[in-house]
Assembly symmetry: C2
Homo-oligomer: 244 residues x 2
Amino acid sequence: MSDSCFVTKFSHFLDLTEGEKTALAVFEEDSKHYRAGQVVTEEGDGADRLYTVKSGWLHASNALANGTRQILQIYYPGDVAGMPSIAFANASATIVCGTDSELCRLPKKALGKIFEEHPRLSALFYSLGMLENVTLSDRLKCLGRCTGEGKLAGLILEIYFRLRVTNSDIDRSFEMKLTQTDIGDAIGVTNVHVSRLFGKMESRNLIRREGRTLHILELETLVDEAFFTDRFTGLDTSWYPDPR
Amino acid sequence: MSDSCFVTKFSHFLDLTEGEKTALAVFEEDSKHYRAGQVVTEEGDGADRLYTVKSGWLHASNALANGTRQILQIYYPGDVAGMPSIAFANASATIVCGTDSELCRLPKKALGKIFEEHPRLSALFYSLGMLENVTLSDRLKCLGRCTGEGKLAGLILEIYFRLRVTNSDIDRSFEMKLTQTDIGDAIGVTNVHVSRLFGKMESRNLIRREGRTLHILELETLVDEAFFTDRFTGLDTSWYPDPR
DNA sequence: CGTTCCTTTGAAACCAATCAATAATGGTGG
DNA sequence: CCACCATTATTGATTGGTTTCAAAGGAACG
């Protein structure tokens, strides 16, 4: 409880100095509770802050004029949400809580101060942004070039490996908190087809479902069909400037 | 010719100080010519530098084990290529020149020095990364939720608006330098289907092709079918720290 | 001027969307 | 605690879009 959620997150990658910890701890101050389904920011709203997930999970999406929706990113405890929007005056995506969530809110201007005073943290922020880029690229690859089952496998693996980073005790199973409509909106198929894909993968004994719990039975096959690479293992921090 | 390609690019967004210009000009030193088709870096190679495009164009892609390929990003003069890879020890994508190209090469460690000494440039680097993030999100949205013609329209518009940033005299037409196989690899359809999509859009009088020149006849319709938003107009630099 | 790469076109097979109806699940208040 | 309602998931039949396979026509290049 002593370290802020930023500190916890960043300590995964760097041995933070006291000065760096202090700089990050400032942003613990503005923590706020959100309810499941609550909209954190809407596409087009003023993009004036970042959100770090302390507990719960959320997703960023774009609504299309034809009534459909594309889910772009899913955020879990330890993630920083709203990074893409910060480059613009207005938010490029809508962020919605999937569950009750506790978020730390970091004003844009305060991020500017971090860039001013803590070059090594800035470089890490940059890397986290690039990690998000690679996640998007991987899903783009999956949507463009995988079969239906491969797309679903890719999302399952993305969530599984993502959760394992901060929750090392999960072993081949996790709570799938997305509805099948959400899953479809993430991988670009209809909710009806998601149901059929789950059915097929279950009958092939690749996965098993018990309520909302999803068991991964054949990890290797899922990896193959999704052309999956785990990106969450290591960042290269060797080029970062010295800490202050 | 007096300003480096970095300076030219960054001056679009900020009034650079002399100190900042000097810092950026260092990276002009390592300029290199690449031939069309030449591989700049390969997925898995050591990710030790960034590439700024002085002339020509290139693309980043992932090869899949089933023999297919997904094109992730297209880079034009003024763009910085290889940003996502820099967060990792090894490149997350393959970068290939589409045409003969002149690239400025910026070692990772030198980027670290920028972060150390020029906080405002670091913030701008961050924003450029987030701009790339949004470009990926937009294409993800297109792949997941648009019709075939919408996907092609989206790519056409992405290239068109991207080229207009640095080349303000182009007016509703440009040279499409990608082959139909490349286009298919970017929007997630087969080359055969790209040909048919072009045919359909031409017969609807949305576009016209003369050799490699592509004329946009009905911009509004393309925008509607691709659910397109122009992201290249403005970055919000209000939160940046003061220059040095 | 021939070879290679790129584009176009056709027919068949396949995958996913749509429309529609039913079943299961979860949450709420009586 | 159960009944009810809303949401979510499943299943079937049909339609439509895309891939695949195959072949031929065009364009670019040495």
